[in-house]
Amino acid sequence: MVGFADDEMTTVSPARDLPPRVKLAMYFRLFALQGSWNYETLNGTGVGFAMEPALRLLPGGLNGQQYRAALARESRYFNTHPYLAGVAVGALARAELDGVEASRIERFRTALAGPLGSVGDRLVWASWLPFCSLVAIGVFGAGGSALAVVGTFLLLYNAGHFLLRAWGLRIGLSRGLNVASALGNPVLRQGPDYIGRAAALVGGIALPLALQRIVGPGRALVGGIIAAAFVGIVLLALLRERAEGWRIALGVLAVFVLYSVLT
């Protein structure tokens, strides 16, 4: 999937198990991976930051030449989805600790970045997040309290979030440069389709329920609201990539507020 030569995928030395405190430090640092996100190195410095506790185990420790060379290499340009960054961080840390030559590590970094970004974007931002939002909106529509709505969203979303980060780091550390095959995991490949269908089903229930609750007891306008919303959705769907719904919402709302103030 990622495009390595066969020899690069099979000649990795046996795993060197990291102390639990190092793994834990790397896991927690993954949550701050994007702390120095910028338009030049993207996630690169974050990858170096997350991997740094493992690099201290290199010969010579913090003051060793190997540590400094590895830290410099791993802090260069890299692009990945933050939740799947653990796959790269784990795999690269293991490669560094196993003494894989620098040129191979750099080729591996280049090859891994694209797929991790696109798989993560599709699975998390374009599937899991909207699904969890719709579930929470549905809980609101069903009459749920503030605590129930927020609690449902945070628990559901972060169950997936925390597990995905942990899985990524574990699989990266255990497979090293062989990690490309892990991206063929059925959850990563087919998950977005299943979640997408579930989100559509939940959306069909949740959105009208929530809108009903917001409108409140005065239901006289419901017919008009449904008709206007239907026409608007069709128009917006036809425009698709050419218009951003939230910008249109901002413009229409500004005009309505102005009208309501002036009349």
Binding site: G35, A70, S75, S133, F140, V149, V150, A249, L253
Partner: protein, 227 residues
């Protein structure tokens, strides 16, 4: 709202703004959470939840893909939730005007994130030699200062937005001319259109997705009849 009253709200805005990208991306920055938390802080969680749900529907339209530019919903959710929760109940102009304030804040805050990313890149350029030499101190300093600046960014956006919009919303609500039902209806239609359009944009390539949506609508209809 005085500066001292706005300060805790600014702290909330800072924390939720930080969550958007820097730490920990647990989506406490989603408006459904941020606005509800701000509402609870003001003493009106249902008010915060109501505007949070409307904002969440609109936020479905924007996905935080990598380097793309998107509105920042964490601080905006806090501003919208705090403003709406502070309005007396039954004011017809409260929801539309607070929603407008939150959307404007989201837009400005999104721009501030772009500025921050450029600032970090400039700092990175200044420390490039040290980073290329494998300096741990340079890396940690760059990373931690990026996070600190993001925290500060969220606080500043929130406090400025509160200072501008709190009196403005109060003035708008006082002279509001449209009826209550119509005002709510406009907000609901806008949220429905954006959310529906967003679902289509995100999931249109998934096979049979319209059938699943239609099945959901059928379930809703059945629920409606049994109520």
């Amino acid at each position: 709202m005085s500066f001292l009253e706005a300060l805790p709200i600014a702290l909330l805005g800072a924390l939720f703004g930080l969550d958007v990208v820097s730490f920990p991306q647990a989506m406490i920055s989603r408006p459904i959470v941020a606005a509800t938390a701000a509402g609870a802080f003001i003493g009106n969680p249902p008010g915060g939840l109501l505007i949070g749900v409307v904002l969440e529907m609109i936020a479905l339209d924007t996905l935080p893909f990598g380097a793309s530019r998107y509105p920042e919903w964490g601080s905006a959710g806090v501003v919208g939730g705090a403003l709406f929760a502070a309005q007396p109940s039954g004011m017809p102009g409260a929801l539309p005007s607070c929603l407008l304030a939150a959307l404007l804040t989201a837009s400005i805050s999104g721009w501030s994130m772009v500025m921050l990313r450029r600032m970090i890149a400039r700092r990175l350029a200044r420390t490039r030699d040290q980073l290329e030499a494998g300096s741990r101190d340079a890396l940690l300093s760059l990373h931690l200062s990026g996070m600190s600046l993001d925290l500060l960014r969220g606080a500043l956006v929130t406090i400025v937005a509160m200072a501008v919009f709190a009196p403005l919303v109060k003035a708008i609500v006082a002279v509001w001319g449209s009826e209550s039902a119509a005002s709510h209806a406009v907000v609901v239609v806008i949220a429905a259109i954006v959310a529906g359009g967003a679902l289509w944009k995100v999931f249109h390539s998934v096979r049979h997705v319209l059938w699943f949506f239609a099945a959901g609508l059928l379930v809703w209809s059945a629920l409606l009849m049994t109520r």
